[in-house]
Each structure stands twice: as C-alpha cells, then as structure tokens.
C-alpha cells in the first residue's frame, strides 16, 4: 500500500505540487480575508472557476496533439449569442425553446471547432493563424448577431436552472468525463500518440487527420458549454462576454497544470486544477485590492515561472541522462 502511494506520488508530482499550491492559497485567503470560509463564498468561487476550467479542459486536448486554439473565448461568446438569439426570437419563450436554444448553442460551438479543425487537419494550415482568424471572425459574428442594442434578457427560469449548484456539478462532471476520454479510451490514446510523434502515429495506421479535427471540435463544444454557464449568469449573451484576454487564463491554466505546449503530455484533471489556481490568483489580487495592472503583471510572471520550472526539469533530466 505504502509503495503504491509512493509510486502514485512519483507519477503525479505536478498534481501534488498544485494541490499544495491550492491549499496554500486557501490558507492565505482564510487568514487574510474575513468570512472567506463560508458556504456561499466557496460555492461562488467554484462557480466562477467553471467556465475557465471547462474551456481549459477542451484546450488540453488540442495542446496535447501539439496544436493551439486561442479562439475559445470568442467561440464561447459567438455560440452563446447565436443560441440566445434563437431563444429570444419567440414572443413567448417556453422551456422547449430554451432546450432547443441550448442545443443550437452547442452545435454552433461544434461548428466553429469543426472549421478550425478542418483548416488545420485537412488543409494543413498553421493552428495559431487559423484560430487567431477564428477569434476575430467569431467576435465579429457575435457583435453582428447580438446587434447594437444587445439581445433581450432570458426568462429567469434559465438562470434558475443553471444555478451555481448545477454549474458546480458541470465543473465536476464534464472534466471528469473528458479526463476519462483522454486517459482511458483508444481515442485519447491516439491523441497522445499524435502529440508524441505525428509521423509515427500515421505510419502506425492511425487516422491522424480525423483525430486532430475531433480535438478542435471538442475544444469548440467545451467553449459552448462555458457559454451556457456564462449566459446563465448574465441572463443574456453579448459579444463582450468572451474578452480576448481570457485566452491567456485558459492556456495558463493548462500550462500550470503541466500540459506540454508542444504536445504529448498532460491531463485534463491537472489543467482544471490549474484553472483553480489562475482564478484563485485573480481573486486574491482582487480581494487584496491590487490594481488590475499589477494583477496582469504578477499573473504573467507566475506563468513564465511555471513554464520555466518545467523547462528546467527537462533540461535537468537531459543533463542527468548524458
């Protein structure tokens, strides 16, 4: 048993490191902020983490194949606006409309992902360029569909259904499913194969194009799921709900979680914990009254530091092996 725990520790150093960091953060917060450890406060925080965590989970798939998707926040906003535009196009909005609207919202996310994936996997375009273009296209689309005055407000039943407890449920269930897909199924294994060496994967008879296409669709659907959560908390959707700067939080969450930016390594579970850290840092700064300028500065430094540690680890391992 003890041996097993030790082995688990060796294989999950990143996980343990992050758990320690999160625990440390909680300790600091409960000491410095009054009434931090209250049920309402903790559940609010968790609900706040959910959209970032779910998008980070989707991006993890893309990153592990060695790709990049920076269009998530924009896709999130665009699919939300499309879904909400459908829902609010009726005189009397019933539950059926809301359900169909959510399906349309998810399909829109999948569609944006499909376009990203097709351009990258089939046309062999550069991921960064494709998703950068998608970011502006989706933002533009959201602005156009959303209109100048903004979309009407949704009936309160929508926000009531996606209340913070539902959202916390989503935060647990969705990443858990995605983590299992990545680590426990043949599809997930193929994602790792591709990230490790795409050429070898192709020679091994794996249909690399389809897998790469699929991971971008997953990222798109995850963005749409985050869109549902954000829509519920806003009670409507607008182009600005996915600020472009948010992509930095998403990618950093994955990177701090140990997902390799050049592919082959990482887990959804760890990326989600990374999201906890990132959102946590944002909140700490906020609560301590640090100005926004410093917040971005400190966040950027933390990311460089985290990446530095993993690079240094590789360097050290290489040195040791030589």
């Amino acid at each position: 048993m003890l041996k097993k725990i030790k082995l688990f520790g060796q294989r999950n150093k990143q996980l343990l490191g992050m758990l320690v960091a999160i625990a440390g953060m909680i300790v600091v917060l409960s000491l410095t902020v009054e009434n931090f450890v209250t049920w309402a406060n903790i559940t609010n925080l968790l609900a706040q983490v959910a959209p970032i965590a779910i998008m980070a989970a989707g991006v993890t798939f893309v990153l592990i194949t060695g790709g990049m998707d920076i269009s998530c926040p924009a896709v999130m906003a665009a699919s939300s606006v499309i879904g909400v535009a459908f829902m609010t196009s009726f005189e009397v909005i019933t539950g059926v409309h809301l359900v169909i609207g959510c399906i349309i919202l998810l399909l829109a996310g999948a569609f944006f992902g499909l376009i990203n994936g097709a351009a990258i996997a089939k046309l062999k375009m550069v991921p960064l360029v494709v998703t950068l273009s998608m970011m502006t296209v989706a933002t533009g689309l959201a602005t156009v569909v959303g209109g100048g005055v903004g979309l009407p407000v949704l009936p309160s039943s929508f926000s009531n259904f996606f209340n913070k407890y539902t959202v916390i449920g989503m935060l647990i269930v969705i990443p858990a499913i995605l983590d299992f897909i990545l680590t426990g199924t043949s599809f997930g294994r193929k994602v790792y194969y591709i990230g490790n060496k795409e050429e070898t994967a192709r020679v091994s008879g794996i249909n690399t194009d389809n897998i790469i296409l699929t991971v971008y669709v997953i990222a798109g659907v995850c963005a749409a799921l985050a869109g549902i959560i954000n829509t519920a908390s806003l009670a409507t959707a607008r182009a600005t709900m996915g600020p472009q700067g948010q992509i930095l939080d998403i990618i950093s969450a994955a990177v701090i979680g140990g997902v390799a930016v050049n592919g082959g390594r990482g887990r959804v579970r760890d990326a989600v914990l990374g999201a906890f850290l990132i959102v946590g840092i944002n909140n700490v700064m906020n609560l301590l009254g640090v100005s926004d300028y410093y917040t971005t500065l400190i966040k950027g430094s933390i990311i460089i530091f985290a990446m530095g540690i993993s690079s240094f680890k590789n360097y050290y391992l290489a040195r040791k092996a030589a």
């Binding site: 199924t185 294994r189 060496k197 070898t200 091994s204």
Partner: protein
C-alpha cells in the same frame, strides 16, 4: 607531425549507479594505424569515447597518457586542446552557412580583422583550403552547406576537426548515412590521414568495414576488453565471438513461399518523382528484397505504395486466398505493417513506454466496442508476451523507449508489427544501426514469421544481408524497376547488371 603522438589508456573504469560501464580497460593507440572499436550496443564503446572526449570522468585509479604525459580530460574544451576530435555519426553542419564558415564555425574569434568584429574571410578561406586540399577534397568554399551531399558534409566535419588541431580522431559510425561511393572516398581519406601519422579510432557496426579499413581491432563486451588483435590475424567469426562471447547461429533460409498464391500485385505504380511505373508480385510467405543504390527511390516506392506519399498512377491488388481485388491504400494498410527507415523520425513514440509503443498499431483491439475504453492490463500482458518473443531487453514494459539501445528500439518496432500480425510486412533497412547479435535475431524472426505465412518486402543497403535473407530481389534505379533476380542467381554482378544497363540507356 613533428613530435611522435601516442595515446595510452591504463585501467580505465567507469561506474554508473548500478552499472559498471567500463572495467579496467587498457590499450595503446599508435600513430599511423586505424584502431577499430567494436562491441554490441551497451558494450561500453560510447562510454570510452565520451571519456576521451571529456564528457565523462573515469573512476579513480586509471590513467590516460597522451604524448607521454598523464592527463585529466575534464571537459570537451580540454579534449580539444589535447588534439582529440570527434567525427559524429550524424553530420552536423549549419545549413545556411557556406563551406569555409562551417569548417571554422567553432572559432570565429580567431579570424577577425585585428580587434574589429569583422571576419577576415580571405585568411579563413586560405586556411580551409589548406585542410580540404590535405583531404584531397574539391568542394567550392563558397557553396552553402545545404547544397552539399552528405558525404561532402562529412568532409566539412573532418576539416573542422583538423583545423582545430585534431591529432587523435574519433570516427563514430561515420558511414551510417553515406552511399557506397562516398564510403569509398571516406576510407581513402582515413587511410591518407593514417599515413600522415594521426591516431584514428574507428567505431562501426559494419564488420566488413572494420576488416577493410582497420589495422588493429579492440573488442568490448559488457565494459570489459574481450579482445585486441591485428585485423589480419582475425576471422569474422572470431571477431563476433569477441563481441558476443559466443558464436551467432544464423538460421538458413528455407524457402517458404507458396508460389501459387499471390498476396499483393503492384501494377504500374508511379509517384510524383519516384517511383516510375513499377510493377511486381508478392507471394505468400515470400521475402522479397528491394535493392538499389542510395537515392534510387527505394523508400519512395514503399511510401507511394502505402499511400504515405501521393500516388499519381497505378493500382494495387490484394487478396487473402488468391482472389486479388483492387484496394485503396487505406484498405491495404489494414493488412500491412511498415517498419520505416527513420526509427526516431516515424518509427517510435520516444517518450512513451514500451507497451504503448507496441500496441500503437492495433490500439483498437484493446478497446471496448461501444465506448472505446482501453484495457491496459491486457495491453501490458500482450506487450510482455511480444517482448519475450522478440527478445526486447528492458527492465519492464513501462520503460521509456528513448532509454533503450538502438537494437532494442528496433525490436520494439518489430514487436509492434508482429502484434498486428499483418499479411505483408514492409521493412526499410530493418537492421540499420543494430549490432551483430540483434541483427541475427531480427533475421531469424523474419524467417520464422515467413514460414508462418507472413510475406516480407525488405529494403537493405547491405548486399550481403539482402542476399542472405531474400528469396527474390527486385532492383530499382532512378525509380524504375531495372531487374529481378532469383535466389539461385544471387550475385553482386547479377544485381548490378540492371543498374549498369539503366545508366547506359541514360547516356544514349
């Protein structure tokens, strides 16, 4: 050489945690002779060379004596100062710099105009020309390195070693990526350097090269010196015995092909550049060799046939019980395996464990039908079975592949395809960079599988190997099929005949 060079190693040992990589190795290298160093992977050759190169420190107790002086080589810089220079297996040049800049790349500081940062190109060229002339090598000093052949790039490396004042030259498998012609040229140069009084080490897996080039040979096994003798006194069997500690038993090829049953028929296969209009049949249980000079389009034939490169014309027929049907490359790929030439490029997932590498060809077989949930326990079990069958030497199936030796890595790829158990296995240079022991094992595995009905298509640059294992050889030159030789008629002349004819046709 003004003063007499000498190099002596006394009782050199090197202990890594848990392993004694070298124990009490002593020898003397004399100027004017080529000293061959042989041993299977992991025998300690690299460790010894790294000690000489200053990358590793030997254990206390031994000594290295150069020109009569006891020396300690603490780092690569000191090795360079002592005149020790490496010529690596992988040719390392800066592609966009030109020849003379490449040769002097490591010490630009010496070639500035006075104290200014500008380079004195005239002097540099004169210096480089001096060394290249000594090598009897006529390449344009201004030519950018990317325009050179691999052989010419190797010359740059040698010139670089000489310009740094290298007197003890360590060649580490220099011919691995050279054509026959370039190899001959390299040997000429090494012999030339030998006459000039340099000390030359030559490491190679190709025993033929050792016999052709070296004067004396030093054999290592498990870190021990197991033999040292002038080459003329050795037979090939003795040398292999030094390396392995026993004689290798290569199985005799028993022709297992079922001449009536054709499994695959390639008709008029053409690709973008190569191949051009190639047709051939493959029988069940047959080992078909594909032979041609480097750059003749052998690998391209495989890639085009299997749909990795674009096929512009032709069709492939495949059938399990003699009924041939035209198939797309995707359909064909379900029934074939492909061991590529570039082990590290597209053969392995280097950072993944052995088991995941082995199962990668048939990962679907380990997944549940509906949700694709993987059964890792079964994966590990089957990987272990194959590791045993193919004799992969590793701690366990979770070992990361990049930590294995070349021969064992190759065996991992072979395990991967044996697990798939395809009807046809394409192999491009299956024993490249693999030591003698593993080579024979791989050949025996090919024989065994072919007797069970697997067909093989094998590319090899080594004439002896291909004639040893194949039932039939087709010859490729400039992407075209120029000859076909059956086992009874195997000879170098018979294989070359087609190529010679092709060249004559071109001239007319």
């Amino acid at each position: 050489m003004e003063k007499k060079l000498s190099l002596q190693l006394n009782n050199i040992s090197k202990t890594f945690p848990g392993v004694k990589a070298l124990s009490d190795v002593s020898f003397t290298a004399n100027p004017g002779e080529v000293l061959g160093v042989v041993g299977v992977n992991g025998a300690g050759k690299s460790t010894m060379m790294n000690i000489l190169g200053g990358l590793l420190q030997p254990d206390k107790g031994g000594s290295i004596v150069i020109n009569g002086e006891n020396v300690k080589i603490k780092n690569p810089k000191e090795a360079e100062e002592l005149g020790i220079a490496f010529i690596q297996q992988e040719v390392q040049v800066f592609d966009t710099l030109n020849v003379f800049e490449n040769v002097l790349a490591s010490d630009f500081n010496k070639w500035t105009k006075g104290k200014t940062p500008f380079l004195n190109k005239k002097d540099m060229k004169a210096e480089v020309k001096k060394h290249l002339d000594a090598l009897d090598c006529r390449i344009d000093l201004e030519a950018p390195a990317y325009s050179l052949t691999v052989g010419e790039k190797q010359m740059i490396q040698i010139a670089r070693a000489l310009s740094q004042g290298g007197q003890i030259l360590l060649f580490d498998e220099p011919t691995a990526s050279l054509s026959d012609h370039e190899t001959a040229k390299l040997f000429e140069i090494i012999n030339n350097l030998k006459v000039q009084g340099y000390i030359i080490f030559y490491i190679s897996h190709y025993l033929d090269e050792i016999f052709e080039l070296c004067d004396r040979v030093l054999a290592l096994r498990d870190g021990n010196k197991t033999g040292e003798a002038p080459v003329v006194e050795l037979s090939k069997e003795q040398l292999v015995n030094f390396m392995l500690g026993h004689l290798v038993e290569g199985a005799e090829r028993k022709d297992a092909r079922d001449k009536d049953e054709i499994v695959m028929k390639a008709q008029n296969i053409s690709g973008i550049k190569f191949p051009k209009d190639v047709s051939f049949d493959l029988h069940r249980g047959e080992i078909l060799g594909v032979w041609g000079l480097l750059g003749s389009g052998r690998s391209e034939l495989f890639n085009t046939l299997l749909g990795i490169d674009k096929k512009t014309d032709g069709k492939v027929l495949f059938g399990k019980d003699g009924k041939l049907e035209e198939v797309t490359h995707k359909q064909l790929y379900k029934h074939v395996g492909y061991l590529t030439e570039g082990r590290h490029h597209d053969g392995l997932f280097l950072d993944m464990p052995i088991s995941k590498n082995i199962t990668s060809s048939v990962i679907g077989r380990f997944a549940s039908k509906l949700l694709g949930i993987l059964n890792t326990k079964k994966e590990n079990e089957e990987s272990r079975t194959l590791m045993k069958q193919v004799n992969v030497k590793a701690v366990d199936e979770n070992m990361i592949v990049s930590k294995l030796s070349g021969g064992n890595q190759q065996k991992v790829i072979i395990s991967k395809w044996f697990l798939k158990n395809p009807d046809i296995l394409f192999m491009d240079e299956p024993t490249k960079g693999v030591d003698v022991g593993a080579k024979t094992e791989i050949q025996n595995l090919i024989f065994e599988k072919s007797e069970n009905g697997m067909s093989f298509v094998v590319i090899s640059s080594e004439l002896e190997e291909i004639m040893n294992i194949c039932d039939r050889i087709i010859v490729i030159a400039e992407g075209k099929l120029v000859g076909e030789v059956n086992r009874e008629e195997f000879s170098k002349e018979a294989l070359m005949a087609g190529i010679v004819k092709q060249e004559e046709n071109d001239e007319n």
